[in-house]
Symmetry: C2
DNA sequence: CGGCATCCGAGTAGATACTG
DNA sequence: CAGTATCTACTCGGATGCCG
């Protein structure tokens, strides 16, 4: 199975050279990539963003039902972080009972695009990964 | 700042519809995306893969120096997982002292490509995210 | 050199109960 | 409805020491 050409490898190496070249020592320690990625690639955050890409607007309890297995504590934490980083917006309506709606910002949508790329790649290869893992276990 | 067009949103929604449509209830609970992503998006694993994309072959101690701040315990754990999932290969040379070399598989390179896309996106917007976060704190 | 075994501390997630 | 508060359980990372 040839998943990638040598040509692609060369191109990847060039991009990496550019990226790593720009980083100085301080950045290696602080590393914004790690910082931003740590949040955005959190398993719950990913699902939240994907669902908000699928359903344009969702309320708190709706989200909790969609994102299977998440607790209200963790959900509210993640929503607060995702809002503070600019991925989604929170609108509160002072009705009785209260209504709060979440939706992606334009920035969130631009991240969603990247996320979709990644999940497409994953759904293509996840079976291979699982199979590989099982084979490795048996040894 | 218009980071995304309505047209792109529509295309994203279509892809999501296809993805979510294929998932049945069991998959929502088990969720291979979450499973594969959880590993591949681990902050240490990402750096390991990026460095192995930059330096084609690295030994254990070399990796530990590159991946700033990682402990040998965590490094060896991550390497074992990444190997078992097929992202990288491990070659042992029975010399004295022993020599072990790690490098990406073709599969690992194909993931590296996705990762580079993502880090490029992040380096473009990480300043915005940090700024957003700071603004949110002040309120 | 390339790890593994062990211990320990901190952070995190989940369950539950409660409130504006 | 949309969370917060609290407590517990558990995982995870770091440090250290040792070994083939």
């Amino acid at each position: 199975m040839k998943t990638i050409t040598d040509n692609q490898k060369v191109r990847a190496a060039k991009k990496l050279k550019k990226m790593f070249g720009q980083m100085d020592r301080r950045q290696m320690e602080y590393c914004p990539i790690r910082d931003v990625m740590a949040l955005a690639s959190d398993k719950w955050s990913i699902l939240i963003i994907l669902y908000l890409g699928y359903y344009p607007v969702l309320r708190f309890n709706q989200l909790q039902k969609k994102v299977y297995g998440i607790s209200n504590k963790v959900l509210s934490e993640r929503l607060k972080i995702l809002e503070s980083d600019g991925y989604l917006s929170r609108k509160m309506y002072a009705e009785v009972p209260i209504r709060v709606e979440y939706q992606l910002t334009d920035f969130g949508h631009s991240y969603l695009d990247k996320l979709i790329d990644l999940t497409e790649w994953i759904t293509t290869y996840s079976d291979d990964v699982i199979a590989n893992r099982a084979k490795y276990q048996r040894q």
